[in-house]
Amino acid sequence: MVRWNGAWIMAILATVSCGDRASPGRSEAVPAVGDTVAMVDLKVGFVYVGPIGDAGWTFAHDQGRRALETRYRGLKTVYVENVKEGADAERVLTRLAQEGCALVFATSFGYMDAVLATAAKYPRVAFMHATGFKRDANVGTYFGRAYQTIYLAGLAGGALTTSGKIGFVAPVPIPEIIRHINAFTLGAREANPSCTVHVVWTNAWYDPAAEKDAALSLMDTGCDVIMTEGDSPAPLQAAEERGAFAIGYNSDARAFAPTRFITAAVWDWSVLYSRIVDEVLAGIWKAEDYWWGIETGITKLAPWGPAVPETVRQRVGTRQREITDGSFDVFHGPIIRQDGTEAYPAGARATDEELLSMSYFVQGVAGTIPK
């Protein structure tokens, strides 16, 4: 925290004090990632649920970590991979605090209890828990509105399916994934109102074999577009082998489906991580919920694959601009649930609380949520 450039502190104070909500307004300037800033003295810890080479969720977070090291001279990062969401997590978090980390990112939902327990022991350390919902004096939560990007990917997928059946490889039936499946389906059915989205659960965040099997079984039932939210690119590979279109998640893993890749809803955690580091350095970090949208760049579409026609690119591009400038909301009525009842009448919009606890499928999804 020493040798911190005074002008920067003023700039950040000005930026942050604009609103009490942690999410930046559309007009606020987030410092561009890549600009190296003044010398800092800060150690940041990361706990990952998978290996950094998973080409997915953990890989994306690790890219964010690397961006911090590039951007801040003197900033050190420490990470631990493959940390199970059980009794081990609290020990790893404690070690990171003991190691002198002033800021720790816990990047999987199942670390929740461990984060809260460790944070109580180390009140001077700032903890940020991804995808969680419990906060404390020094525990904030963060995530991005990937549903916006996934809706756009669904728009492209719906336009490209000829069989009218799209397969969705889904990891774990929690509100986050259900929200994403619904957003994807709303997009797909906007492009092709008769298409259906078929869901197979793998019940694991990272299981390349199960993810591939799920993709293969979906293609066996006639799906010609495969969307995956698993942490591995195995479903993309499977789709390429069988000649189905593929949509990815987390990172731009087009290399695994060079000819059949449509796009991917990718994360750029560096924008959020830089912002939080800035706040911690300036001493103004607060334990809040950060749920950033497409306008911040935290979630975005990967560049189009070669097989995506120009008309589709333009259609999606238009919607993307509308979401970015706030004139279009993915979850706006009328939205009909899978069972035929109305979730939102025309003109109504889902609130953040409703989105965060979403536990039903919308019309057009073929599949069930385990009960």
Partner: protein, 363 residues
């Protein structure tokens, strides 16, 4: 040559083998880590420095070792009788489910819930092992396959309960039970996460040793494990013993799940076990299936596993390299153990003949 000289020479040989194994481990660390551009010997020392040198690190190794001890005992008692119960993981989950059920759904009844959770965990683990035991005893069905399948069944049942009927009311639809009430917690030791399960595991080790080496029934089990035909010839009721041993094994593994629930996690989460039931097989073999050797061996593994995390934190070693190192260390430990056993086996026969008292001292 006098007996003392024989013992001395053997001790020297053993020490040489152990020193050789440790040296090979250090060399292997140096080569593996050196290839990744990390200072090998220093990082290897860091693996154990934290877990041996600090109170917190040591306490965490004990926390990690506690379920390994109980599950290791479970494996050892079955393997003693050459019953290949590799379903420790499933029995552990069954025990955890039963403990969670008691904690979540049993109404208050005067005594702390934790006092009922642990017996329930034992019973559920035993029940999970009962079917493989009966199938083995009555039809000769391979217990390897049946216990292995039991693992998937129990894990998927836990998934189902977490995602479905037991999903908490305060978890926003996320797959986990609510936190257990406070009277479902095992006491912890002085500001650490070390909990009452440790005492239970240590007592369990002594009881199991007494059962196997101090009772007639234990003798029968060990005879049946060494030579089933001889045991049958001696008129032992092997079929019955198969079922009983499986029940004891399952109960111990179930208890491992129960203490993990009541001692550490305090709520049911899907896939909460990082493979304790499988690591326990390694613990049991390294301990030569001897109950009293299992706690120290489990502690060694606990240190190795928690030290691996520390290696990532302090030395920046990638987790895959940590896994390779841990594998190498275990491989060399097993090799040294096998080497020592063979040497002793050669030397033992003349001394052992006509000295049945040695039998009482264990393996």
């Amino acid at each position: 040559m006098s007996a003392a000289a024989v013992i001395l020479r053997r001790a020297c040989r053993d020490l040489a083998v152990i020193a050789g194994a440790v040296g090979t481990v250090l060399l292997a660390c140096h080569v593996v880590l050196g290839a990744a551009g990390i200072h090998g010997a220093g990082a290897c020392a860091a693996l154990f420095r934290e877990s041996l040198g600090t109170r917190y690190g040591f306490s965490e190794s004990v926390v990690k070792a506690t379920p390994l001890m109980l599950a290791g005992l479970a494996v050892a008692v079955a393997f003693r009788m050459r019953l290949w119960n590799i379903g420790g993981e499933g029995q552990l989950y069954a025990g955890a489910l039963a403990a969670a059920w008691v904690a979540l759904f049993l109404p208050r009844c005067g005594i702390p819930r934790v006092m009922l959770m642990l017996p329930a965990a034992c019973a559920a683990g035993a029940a999970w092992a009962l079917a493989p035991g009966i199938l083995k005893a009555s039809l000769g069905v391979s217990e390897i396959l049946v216990t292995l399948m039991g693992n998937y069944l129990a894990m998927l049942l836990a998934d189902h309960l977490c995602y479905g009927p037991w999903k908490g009311s305060t978890t926003f639809g996320f797959p986990m039970s609510d936190r257990f009430p406070a009277d479902a917690d095992l006491p912890t030791y002085a500001g650490t996460r070390v909990h009452g399960g440790l005492a239970i595991a240590l007592i369990g080790a002594v009881l199991l040793w007494a059962l196997l080496w101090r009772t007639r029934w234990g003798f029968q089990v060990r005879v049946a494990g060494s030579n089933a035909r001889a045991a049958e010839y001696a008129g032992y009721r092997i079929r019955r013993d198969v079922v009983v041993v499986m029940l004891i094994s399952g109960a111990l593994a179930g208890l491992a799940g129960g203490v993990e629930m009541a001692g550490v996690l305090h709520r049911l989460q899907p896939r909460f076990s990082p493979g304790y039931g499988y690591t326990a097989i390694l613990v049991a073999w390294l301990a030569r299936l001897h109950p009293l050797a299992i706690p120290p061996v489990a502690l060694f593994l606990g240190m190795l596993l928690t030290g691996g995390e520390q290696l990532q934190v302090s030395a920046g070693v990638p987790s895959s390299l940590v896994d390779i190192l841990q594998g190498l260390i275990l491989f060399l430990a097993l090799a040294a153990e096998a080497f020592l056993r063979r040497r002793h086996g050669e030397a033992r026969h003349p001394e052992l003949s006509g000295s049945p008292a040695v039998e009482g001292s264990g393996d």
